[in-house]
């Protein structure tokens, strides 16, 4: 693996430089993963771009690791940040503002050319042919000045190129983020209409679909707030169109009343929460998994819901399609909980893998009646033997009914005998998703008989996967995809002989652990918690795991 970092200020085009670098690596056939440290400050806050490049032609993108092979920083803030992570401190480059960077690695660069210069440095070091770099830069920033800066950087970086050369590793790579993956999956899942409101880190979904839907006869509407988004989506879903909503903490919180409404009316809907640091506006550009209990319980009164948590970018493509199917089948809110890192994580990987994920799920509308067959005496909420009721859509003659959040009977009539309908209709609606038929509740990583199991999901998954790869005798991974209803049996089976369990999550209270507690009885359970908003590097993660386990040993000994 080769790793590179770029550090500067927002407004300096660090992000664009990162994109160019990623593009080049993609076109050269290197799977990779990018990591960005966002600032809420539009101009002048610190920001970083890191890229983790697989050299072995592996299909799966690598995880975030600690060791940085080359870093280019704008100021000493950056030097301070990256020096401890450098394999070789001689590979730290920087502008003339820096004092901690080796003198020979400093370059004259204006504030607004720093990104281009840095690109040059990294490209030189990685052995990217200069014309390739030149082309890419020309596409983004015209002007001789930029070419000169790039070239000067290139020379400097090339100097340190210890035989790195670029050869085609894999063909037809694509670069996508978690949000892109959700957008792709949604379209594959037959979503043609989307109602959205901007929020970090979910805006990308709205922006993607705005471009991608119209040629398919669909469209997006930018609505006035998140309540409008979820209620409009409910309207579209009632009308028979597949759709979903996506937001983050504050916006999802505003959808709470609607969750209960969807629960009561049995209108299918998928809701995506790209969790960021909370509470409140919190740390809008940082990752966290701290809305999970909220997602489990938000909404007044009692109703069924399903919560799924995709484990990586590729997984998002399948999970959203599965979620759309589950929603149509169970007719309840199906929530997808991602965290910021997974939502914005950009990875380059083979198109065939993406295509396979796109095609891996078939659209299944469940008991939705889309054809205009005349119906006699239709009862929208009537269930035969507990099976989900048949749902009509407008246009179907004889299928008219009222969807009401007021308690109602099987026909939708809102002034029923409560003593009757609460024991029948209400209980069916409440318990219909207590057990769900879902084929992929979790993924098991590594050897079944490893003594320690690490449970996690979302952005944590790549760390678990790669730690298991490093120490397969010691660890196995359980990547949770179905969080609610808790897939107790699957978890118990997955844990099998592992007496020690670590639940790794990005929050301070161990929400996943509490939620799946009933599946963890009689194990030695540890929580690995982080809540400062920054995604672990693999080494940091490994250290945390190790220190938890040695503390346990101490205890056992002591």
């Amino acid at each position: 693996m080769k790793t590179a970092a770029l550090f500067g200020l927002t407004g300096q085009g660090i992000e664009t430089a990162g994109e160019i670098l990623s593009n080049i690596m993609r076109s050269q056939g290197y799977t990779h993963r990018a990591w960005r440290d966002f600032s809420t400050i539009i101009r002048g806050g610190h920001t970083a771009f890191e890229i983790y490049i697989s050299e072995k032609g592996e299909e799966a993108p690598p995880p975030r690791i600690e060791t940085i092979d080359i870093a280019v920083v704008w100021d000493d803030e950056g030097a301070k940040r990256y020096l401890p992570r450098m394999a070789d401190s001689a590979m730290l480059f920087g502008s003339m503002n820096t004092t901690m960077v080796p003198e020979e690695n400093r370059g004259e660069t204006p504030k607004l050319g720093f990104n281009v210069w840095s690109l040059g440095v990294i490209a030189g070091y990685l052995g990217i042919p200069f014309p390739l770099l030149e082309d890419s830069i020309n596409q983004h920033f015209a002007g001789e000045l930029n070419q000169n800066l790039a070239h000067r950087g290139y020379i400097l970086g090339q100097f340190k190129n210890k035989g790195n050369t670029v050869t085609n590793k894999l063909s037809d790579l694509v670069t996508i983020s978690g949000n892109d993956a959700l957008s792709l999956g949604a379209i594959a899942g037959d979503v043609r209409h989307y109602f959205g409101y901007p929020i970090t880190p979910a805006s990308e979904i709205l922006e993607n679909l705005t471009k991608w839907l119209p040629p398919l006869g669909g469209k997006t509407v930018q609505v006035e707030d998140e309540m409008a988004a979820i209620y409009a989506a409910a309207g579209a879903s009632y009308a028979g169109e597949r759709t979903f909503v996506a937001s983050s903490g504050p916006g999802i919180a505003l959808m709470t009343e609607a969750l209960s409404y969807l629960g009561a009316t049995e209108i299918p809907l998928v809701i995506i929460d790209n969790q960021r640091g909370g509470p409140s506006t919190g740390m809008p550009t940082k990752t966290e998994q701290s809305d999970l209990q909220h997602l489990r319980y938000a909404g007044h009164g009692e109703f069924a819901r399903i919560i799924l948590t995709p484990t990586d970018v590729l997984d998002c493509i399948a999970v959203i399609q599965e979620a759309l199917n589950l929603a149509d089948y169970y007719q309840c809110p199906v929530i997808l909980a991602l965290d910021l890192d997974l939502a914005v994580r950009r990875v380059s990987l083979p198109w065939v893998a993406v295509e396979q994920a796109i095609r891996s799920v078939t659209v299944d509308r469940g008991p939705t009646l889309l054809e205009s067959l005349p119906i006699e005496d239709y009862a929208r909420f009537h269930s035969v033997d507990g099976a989900p009721p048949v749902r009509t859509v407008p246009g179907i003659k004889g299928g008219g009914y009222v969807a009401s959040g007021d308690e109602h009977d099987e026909k939708g009539f809102m002034e029923p005998d409560f003593k009757v309908v609460r024991e029948t209709h209400h209980l069916r609606r409440l318990h219909k998703a207590d057990q769900i038929e879902y084929q992929r509740p979790l993924s098991i990583i590594g050897n079944m008989d490893a003594p320690v199991a690490i449970i996690g999901t979302g952005s944590m998954s790549e760390l678990i996967e790669n730690l298991v790869k490093r120490q397969p005798e010691q660890y196995k991974g359980v990547l949770l995809r179905q969080l609610h209803p808790v897939p107790v049996e699957s978890i118990v089976n997955a844990l099998s002989e592992a007496k020690t369990v670590i639940v790794a999550e990005y929050n301070a209270t161990g929400q996943i652990r509490s939620m799946i507690e009933s599946a963890l009885v009689d194990r030695q359970i540890h929580s690995l918690l982080r809540y400062n908003g920054e995604h672990y590097t693999l080494e940091e993660f490994q250290d945390s795991v190790t220190s938890i386990l040695s503390a346990q040993k101490e205890l056992t000994r002591g």
Binding site: N23, V174, T175, D180, L184, I187, A188, D190, R192, H193, F195, W212, P214, P215, L216, G217, G218, K219, V221, V223, E224, D225, M227, A228, A229, Y231, A232, A233, A234, G235, A236, S237, Y238, A239, G240, E241, E257, A258, Y261, T265, W351, V354, E355, I358, V363, S372, P394, G395, I396, K397, G398, G400, V402, A403, S404, G405, D406, F413, M414, E415
Partner: protein, 279 residues
């Protein structure tokens, strides 16, 4: 799908109606159904989206498709239906509290977004369903359990507000004049864009001061919509209580025209299409 001739009766679903005897909303329901029938729209091609309140119960008496939403959210739901299913006739309906109080933000945006939906507000100047509190259209000085010393907040003028938000069709009706009201609703449904129809629909239990007689004495009939802003503002400024179609601009549905719905099944290979979107 307009294959059979429909009558207002075809729009009833047989649910017992539980408004108070004399409530203005009976007339609104009847006029809406008559208007739809007069346009020969099939019940199954209509979606009535209502809010919460006495007025919101109207959804339960609609024999087509109906969504009884939550308090203040009928317009977002209705726009969701229309944006995704432009083939349907979509009517949103609710009370003054629902639409001009908690839901007024959505009204402003629905007006400027100008989707082809009709918004029918049963304005009784009171929160009927929660037993008579002051509403956003209660007049100054109005006494109720929440303003025992008299309402001190300027009432909302829906005609002015919707127009200021860009509504392309604004009308006002009175549930005491059914023939006139039926015609207004029919015009609203035919208008290609957002239409607001504010209806004086008395609450005979909690707002007796603004009953049928009150309106009968105060309303003035307007025959032609105003042709410019200044005129419009003149026509709707209190104490004038105009009924009729008051504003009409001929903008089309402001969203780009919807292309025919496609899906995987219908030809395009979605995966290849998506590949073309990715770098």
């Amino acid at each position: 799908m307009a294959d059979t001739v429909v009558t207002a009766k075809d729009y009833m679903n047989g649910n017992p109606i539980t408004w108070c005897p004399g409530c203005g909303d009976f007339s609104v329901l009847k006029c809406m159904h008559r208007a739809l029938a007069s346009l020969n729209i099939q019940p199954e091609d209509t979606v009535l989206v209502s809010g919460i309140g006495c007025s919101g119960k109207i959804g339960h008496y609609h024999g087509g498709y109906a969504i009884h939403g939550t308090h203040g959210r009928s317009l977002p739901i209705a726009q969701g239906v229309k944006a995704s299913r432009p083939d349907l006739t979509v009517i949103a309906a609710g009370g003054d509290g629902d639409g001009y109080g908690i839901g007024v933000g959505h009204l402003v945006h629905a007006a400027r977004r100008n989707l082809n939906i009709t918004y029918v507000v049963m304005d009784n100047g009171v929160y009927g369903n929660t037993k008579g509190q002051t509403s956003p259209t209660s007049p100054l000085g109005y006494q109720s359990s929440t303003t025992p010393f008299g309402n001190a907040d300027l009432p909302i003028n829906p005609l002015l507000l919707a127009w200021a938000s860009g509504a392309s069709f604004v009308a006002q009706g009175f549930s005491g004049d059914a023939k006139h009201l039926e015609n207004l609703i029919a015009q609203g449904v035919q208008h290609e864009g957002f239409s607001l129809i504010n209806i004086f629909s008395p609450c005979v239990v909690f707002n007796k001061a603004q009953g049928y007689d009150f309106y009968r004495q105060k309303i003035n009939y307007i025959e032609t919509p105003a042709s410019n802003a200044q005129d419009y503002v003149g026509v709707i400024t209190p104490p004038s209580m105009p009924v009729g179609v008051l504003w009409k601009s001929y903008q089309k549905d402001s969203l780009p025209a919807k292309e025919p719905r496609q899906s995987k099944a219908e030809g395009t290979d979605i995966a290849s299409y998506l590949r073309s979107k990715l770098a």
